[in-house]
Subunit: 223 residues, 2 copies
DNA sequence: ATCTGTGTTATTGTATACAATTATACAAGT
DNA sequence: ACTTGTATAATTGTATACAATAACACAGAT
């Protein structure tokens, strides 16, 4: 995130090379930079990122665990996320993200609510400006915040992982200005339901929101 | 698995130390051997498993990715799976495992079906003998097979991960002989629905099966 | 007594050397 | 032509040495 948004304390956190390499490779895969089937040797990645094989290997283990790569005797093979996976991801999110929203309604604090509304305001602002990357980042922030608030590590990790995996496609989706505007409105409605502590409504609105997002993405594929 | 069950080819697969250490630690955590909050230094794990820190660290990265441990500056802290997580896991499985079964009905082959029935036969056998570990292993095998057959990496990885995490509690559950017998019957019914290619029925039976398993486990907690 | 600074120790993070494994090319035999 | 064996090279797997970082204990000042 940017300077003003992510700073809660002035702490300077040490980030290992292994961790940053992991994040860079993950992002490259999820944003479609590497093609499915492409292979890299550890040495190649090592010189590509300018670090030794040790942190590369640690990053590889994490990517392996996320099913984004496959380790073979010839190197690391990119698996990535196929268009076919997208439908499954939306199917699952459609069934459980509403529940997460319902959980939120019962326990959300006024500070959480304020933060959530600020995120939507920002998303609104970026949508009017047409800044796609920023729109997607605030969109991510909204959903991640819901996952975080809902108070369940299980829901949070499952949903976060699924939402994360469709990075590339969400960016495509949001380039449709009509859909981008609609998404802001839907996020606002979810906020209002949470503010009213109406779990059933938050559930219903979230399910509908995900269904709409799914339809929009699938339209992109058929065009 | 045992010698006779897992052998499809005579291949002797090389398994790295990192991989086997990962599996051993994961199993130790999931079976409740290590308590939540317990910490280990890498050196301690290193001498515990008789290997250098390198494979230990690679195993740690994978466990970290599974949210089973947390790496701190003082060592590796065990997070494990809390009883509170169990309800969430069943809630999610209850919503999506039925869908996976439905997918299976459309594409299952007769070989798959035969294997699945063999698993249930074995589970039946072990249930009559009262061999808890074996019962749980065949129970795992049944569900993992469904995940594998359904033809979706997304469903498979999400469900497999969730199912895997409740290892300890499933063992407890199955020690109730009445529940163990019931589980065999329910598995058979799911098999029959799949054999008849009845997706709706397979869905409904699977959802009910998970609901029953959940109720049984929750009973264990309240007693 | 409490806070603060500093040296020490313990621990994780990284690089590198070496071992083990697997793939590949090529030759020889059938 | 095709298989089979073998040497070679490429790659992953592991151990170890060292660097960076963070925790800790303790002395000294206020």
């Amino acid at each position: 995130m940017s300077i003003e948004s992510g700073v809660n304390s002035g702490d300077i956190k040490f980030v290992s090379l292994a961790e940053s390499v992991f994040e860079r490779i993950e992002n490259d895969i999820l944003s479609g930079k590497y093609k499915k089937g492409e292979t890299f040797t550890e040495s190649r990645l090592s010189e590509l990122f300018g670090v030794s094989r040790t942190p590369i290997r640690e990053a590889i283990r994490k990517l392996e665990q996320e099913n984004l790569i496959k380790v073979t005797t010839k190197g690391v093979e990119i698996l990535g996320v196929s268009p076919g996976d997208i439908e499954d991801i939306y199917e699952i999110r459609g069934r459980i993200e509403g529940l997460a929203a319902k959980k939120c309604a019962g326990i959300i604090t006024s500070e959480d609510l304020k933060k959530l509304e600020e995120i939507v305001d920002l998303q609104d602002f970026y949508t009017q400006k047409g800044l796609h990357e920023k729109i997607r980042d605030t969109d991510s922030a909204f959903h991640e915040m819901i996952y975080s608030i809902c108070g369940s590590n299980v829901y949070s990790s499952v949903l976060s992982n699924l939402h994360h995996r469709i990075l590339k496609y969400r960016k495509m989706s949001i380039q449709n200005p009509e859909r981008a505007r609609r998404a802001v409105i839907e996020h606002r409605e979810i906020c209002e339901a949470l503010a009213a502590r109406d779990g059933e409504l938050a559930d219903k609105l979230t399910v509908q929101h995900i269904c709409n997002a799914r339809d929009n993405i699938m339209r992109n594929f058929s065009e």
